[in-house]
Symmetry: C2
Subunit: 388 residues, 2 copies
C-alpha cells in the first residue's frame, strides 16, 4: 500500500472552492460532490456545545446517503442558538439547489471563530455557479477549509481498483473525542452505510482520537466517509488496512501542522494493563506542556517523561518497572533516569519527528498518541486569533 | 482578619538560607526551625514517581512531630532510585546534627531538575554552622527554595494571640493533587497533629488543590503545617478561617507567578450538580491553552469559554442553561454568545486579575480554580530549563 505523491479523487468525486467574502481574499467556501448518491457515515465532536452544523449533521447522516458537502471557514456557527441551526439549514438548501439534489443529502460544516453569526447571505449568493468550477484536484477543496493550517491537507491511497482520498483541516483546538476538526474521506469502493460506520469508528479510535494539539476539544469536529460505489466491490480487509493507514498519516500531518509546531511527537505506551490505560498515559505525555517545551527546546530534561506518566493517577504504574526511550535512545530504566551523553539526547530530540516510548512493564496492552511541540508561535497565534 | 504587610514568624520559629554550591551564587539550602518540638501534619504529591524526599517524608510525618525542615533547590532528588532515598536520609541526619535533634523530626524537601543525583556532600558540608545564621525573616527561607519563582513568597495572618505564617515556592510543573510544590505553614498556636491534619486537608482541598499553572503535577509537591504551641490555645473556628484565607492567598500568589504569567485567572463555576463537577469544569477553564492565550492577548474570543466547558464530557451540562461572565461582564447567556462591545471586553480581559464565572444552571454546587495566562515566557523558560 502506498500514498499517492499527489492526491487525486476517487471516480465520480470533485470539488470547488471560492472566496465569497467571509475572509478578505482567501478561499472560504468549498463544495465536495459525488456524481451519484454515496453511502455515508460520520462521527462528530462530543462537546456539550456542538456547533449548529453538528446538530444538523447528526440528523442528516441518519439517512446514510450523501451527494455532497458544503463547508465554510472563518466562522464556525457555534453558540449561535436556534438562529444558527436555521442558517445551517439554509446552507444545505443553497448547496442542494446548486447541485440539483435535496438538502438531506448535503452535509454542512463550518469552521472558524465561535459565537459569531454566520453570514448566510454571502454563502447563499456565493455558492451560485460553483457547479461550473468543479475540479478533480482535492487540494482546491482542502484550501477552502483552511483556518490556521499552514498548508492544504489531502492524500490518496489505492485499494484494488478503488481509491480512498482524505481531505482535512485542523491545527488548533484539537483533542478530538470523535474525530478531528474536519476530515472528509471519499472512496469509489462499494460499501454500505453500516459497514462504513463500523470501519470509520474503528479507524478513528486509534488515529484521529489519539491526536491532540492543545487538549482543547473543538465544538465542530466532523469526520465523514462517503462511498459512491463507482469502482464496485473491494476486499474489506484491504479497505480496512488502507483506511487505517490514511487516517494515521492524516493524523500525523495534522499534528505536525499544529499551531506553531516544529515537531511531530508520537508517544507510544506499551506494557500497560489495558488499552485504555495505555491511551491515557500516551495522551498525558503528548499533552504535557513540559514535555512539549522540552522537545521544542531539544532540552534533555527527560525526568519530565516520568512526571507525565506519574500524574496519571487512575492508571496502575509501578515506578520500578517503568522504562523510557527517546527515538530509540534509552533514557529511563526501572523508574530511574539513566546517565547519558547530553549531546546525544539533544541531537535525537532535535529530529523533526520525536518518538517517545514508555514501557510500563505491567501488562501487554499498548497505544500511540500524536501531538506536537509547544512554541512561541502557538502563543502568538492564539493570543490574537479572534482579532486577526 | 488581615494579612501582615511584611510576613513574620510565629513565636519560636526561625530560618536560615545559604549558597552551598548547588547553584552558582543564589541561596540554595534552607533550614526552618522551631525552638521546641512542634505537632505537624503534611500532604504530598500523588504522583506515581514521588521524589526520594516524599518517600522519606511520608515516613517522617507519621510521628506527628517536627523540629525543622531542610530544603534545597536546583536538584529535586527524583527518579534517583534507592541511592536517592539514602541521600535524603543523610540530609535529615545532617540537619538533625546541626540542630541537636533526631532525624525523625526533620522533614526533607528537594526541588529542581528531575533525575540528577543529589550532591549530598555539598549539603552536608554546607549545613554546618547554619544554626548561627537563624533569623526571624521568613523571606530569607523563601528565597532559599526558589527555582523559577520571580520573587520569594511568604505571608502571615494573626489568629488571636497566635500567628500563622506561610512560606512557599512554585511556578511551573504545578497542578497539585495533594499540595503545591513546596508550602510550609508555621504557627505558634497549640493544636495536636490529628487536628492539624484534618484542618490542613480541608484547607488544601479548595486552595492549593485547585491551582494549576500547566496541568503538570510535580513529583515533589509537599505542604507541611507545624504548630509549636508557644502561644497556647486558639479558637478553632478562627484558626480554620485564617488557615483557609492564607492558603487561598498563597494559591493566588503562586498562580500569578506561574512561569511567564502576566495575569492571575480565577475560574468560578456555580450552579453545578456537585462540587466535583464544579471543580472539573473550573479546572478545565484554567487549564485550556486557548482560554489562557485569550487572556494573554486580551482577545475577546469568548466562545473558548464554552469550548472549555463543552469538553468536560463526564459532567452534566445543558448548553441552553449555561451563562458566563468575564470580570462581571456578561458574555454568554443560555449557551449563546451575547453581542457586546469588543473594546469593553478587551479592557476587562486586560486586568491583572481576570475572573471567569460560568453558571451551569443545573444545581447549587460551586468551586473556584486558580491559574494564569500562557505566554512566550512560559515557552522560553521551559524550552531550556534543564540546561540553563
Amino acid at each position: 500500500m502506498s500514498l499517492h505523491d499527489h492526491p487525486r479523487f476517487p471516480r465520480g468525486f470533485r470539488c470547488a472552492s471560492r472566496n465569497v467574502g467571509l475572509k478578505p481574499t482567501a478561499r472560504d467556501l468549498t463544495l465536495f460532490v459525488s456524481d451519484v448518491d454515496a453511502a455515508a457515515a460520520a462521527v462528530f465532536t462530543r462537546s456539550h456545545f456542538p456547533g449548529a452544523p453538528i446538530i444538523l449533521g447528526r440528523e442528516t447522516i441518519r439517512g446514510g446517503v450523501l451527494r455532497g458537502i458544503i463547508a465554510n471557514s472563518k466562522c464556525s456557527n457555534v453558540a449561535t442558538g436556534e438562529e444558527g441551526v436555521r442558517r445551517a439549514r439554509r446552507m444545505a438548501v443553497a448547496a442542494a439547489t446548486e447541485l440539483g439534489t435535496t438538502p438531506d443529502r448535503i452535509l454542512v460544516s463550518s469552521t472558524g471563530v465561535i459565537g459569531v453569526p454566520l453570514p448566510i447571505e454571502k454563502i447563499e449568493a456565493g455558492v451560485v455557479g460553483m457547479q461550473d468550477d468543479l475540479s478533480d484536484d482535492p487540494l482546491l477543496g482542502a484550501e477552502g477549509i483552511m483556518t490556521t493550517d499552514t498548508h492544504p491537507k489531502a492524500l490518496s491511497i489505492p485499494v484494488g481498483d478503488a481509491t480512498i482520498t482524505w481531505v482535512a483541516k485542523g491545527s488548533g483546538m484539537i483533542e478530538p473525542n470523535m474525530a478531528t476538526m474536519l476530515a472528509y474521506i471519499f472512496t469509489d469502493a462499494a460499501l454500505d452505510a453500516a459497514t462504513l460506520d463500523a470501519l470509520l469508528r474503528e479507524a478513528v479510535h486509534t488515529t484521529f482520537n489519539m491526536l491532540s494539539v492543545d487538549t482543547d476539544t473543538s465544538t465542530s469536529d466532523t469526520c465523514v466517509l462517503m462511498a459512491n460505489g463507482l469502482s464496485g466491490a473491494v476486499d474489506i480487509a484491504d479497505f480496512r488496512a488502507a483506511l487505517h493507514a490514511g487516517c494515521l498519516r492524516m493524523t500525523e500531518i495534522l499534528a505536525r501542522d499544529g499551531e506553531g509546531a516544529e515537531h511531530l511527537i508520537r508517544a507510544t505506551v506499551r506494557g500497560a494493563r489495558s488499552e485504555d490505560d495505555a491511551r491515557r498515559v500516551a495522551k498525558s505525555l503528548i499533552n504535557s506542556p513540559l514535555v512539549k517545551t522540552m522537545v521544542h527546546g531539544a532540552d534533555p530534561n527527560v525526568g519530565r517523561l516520568l512526571m507525565a506518566v506519574g500524574k496519571c493517577l487512575d492508571v496502575p504504574v509501578i515506578a520500578e518497572r517503568t522504562d523510557a526511550w527517546i527515538n530509540g535512545f534509552p533514557v529511563v530504566r526501572e523508574g530511574a533516569r539513566l546517565s547519558f551523553d547530553d549531546a546525544e539526547v539533544r541531537a535525537t530530540l532535535s529530529h523533526e519527528v520525536v518518538d517517545l516510548v514508555v514501557d510500563l512493564g505491567v501488562g501487554a496492552a499498548q497505544a500511540t498518541a500524536f501531538g506536537c511541540d509547544l512554541t512561541r508561535g502557538y502563543v502568538d497565534e492564539n493570543a490574537s486569533y479572534y482579532s486577526s
